[in-house]
Symmetry: C2
Subunit: 239 residues, 2 copies
């Protein structure tokens, strides 16, 4: 990292791209924006934008998250850096290096308040067609990362509202992983992990649905999951 090297260096544009996920109605959704200009005019793309001179990539990502979702409290949602995409030809116009982030939101915010957010739409992950640039790749990487992190972190609560039932939490796992889980076993595992969730003391209950009302829980203070909650292996996944 020697700026005084004799090598000439070329200036790059640096952007952030966001894969913003939520779980809605049993399906994983991602926030997309429609491009208005070339290249890829009319195609959908991940929200994002330039990193400004006084910003870190993290700051820029959180700013973009607020602009695209219309959220007021932008400090709440889980946001984490994924990796950086820097293929020389990933943008046909110029050299653009993009730092990708994944964000996890609870359902509800139907997005597009004003400004940039007006362009944004929640799209089922499965229906997120061919995206602009290398965003298909970024989105796939982001989804894989989120699925993997559910195994060994308490990240699943980031998809849930402040108070939630264990059934809702299980829905998050089943939706992201695309597999069904045994309810009693899931419950046993979650409750046996100290700090994962904590019961809402008011013995509160919920919901408009059928069946016995469920107890409410809040996210606990733990972040890691030891031992991990491994997704069921369809066959053998050792390789």
């Amino acid at each position: 990292m020697d700026v005084y090297d004799k090598y000439a260096y070329e200036p790059f544009a640096v952007t952030v791209d966001l894969a913003v996920f939520t779980v809605r109605g049993g399906a994983l959704h991602v926030l997309l924006v429609e491009r208005g200009e070339e290249p890829y005019a009319g195609r959908w793309a991940l929200p994002g934008g330039f990193v400004r001179p006084d910003e870190s990539a993290e700051t820029a990502a959180r700013r973009e998250l607020g602009e695209e979702t219309g959220l007021t409290d932008v400090s709440g949602p889980h946001l984490e850096q994924l990796r950086t995409y820097s293929e020389p030809d990933r943008d046909p116009r110029m050299r653009v290096v993009s730092v990708a982030f994944a964000a996890l939101l609870p359902d509800a915010p139907e997005a597009h308040g004003g400004g940039d957010a007006a362009r944004a739409r929640w799209t089922p992950y499965a229906a997120a067609g061919p995206l602009a640039f290398d965003h298909d790749r970024i989105l796939a990487d982001a989804r894989e990362r989120v699925g993997a992190k559910l195994e060994y972190t308490c990240l699943a609560t980031a998809f849930c509202p402040p108070e939630f039932t264990l059934g809702e939490l299980q829905q998050v796992y089943e939706t992201v992983w695309g597999t069904a889980l045994d309810r009693p076993n899931f419950r046993r595992k979650v409750l046996a992990t100290p700090g994962f969730v904590e019961a809402v003391p008011g013995a509160a209950r919920l919901t408009g649905g059928r069946g016995k009302p469920a107890a409410l829980y809040r996210a606990g203070t733990a972040t890691a999951l030891h031992p991990p909650l491994l997704r069921p292996t369809p066959e053998g996944r050792p390789a």
Copy 2:
């Protein structure tokens, strides 16, 4: 990521920084270079350099790895992107965004063949004093990532020569994690994981040391470790 936005964007310099690790004599070592110029003249730093106009960050990292280690076959070593560091003030001279990588090498190459490699020295991780720029942080992040990946991947073999004993493999774990492991249990776990290691058929053996000669193994084809090989928890590490 809209280049036609009205926002002015500032050009950034983009570099790669490498945390190159090896296990030597029961201690984790990292490859450092001494800076000759301001700022941080005389301080040690992670090797790295500018990403060239026709390179991706991955390509630049592998090129730098070759230049700094003097290795000929630069396609062999494990190299993986860590994350990107982009704090606006991380370089006092100008706006530099750095994509950090971790590289894992087997012991032996005493580095510095010619060119840039002459500047490079293997340093025990524990003795890697205050480094230039934010490289202390990068190095700490890299070490943590490597330690974590040993748990759920077969990455440990990247520290070993082409043929190795289970004792050497265990040494890798103990060195990176800083904990002792029970030998029979470690052996049982490694051999029970299909594709982790495969026995060298020639019933070969080794070594100049005392004791019963050990069987030789090669790295297998598996990359993931299911179930994981968790490092012993000193107390409770659920948080």
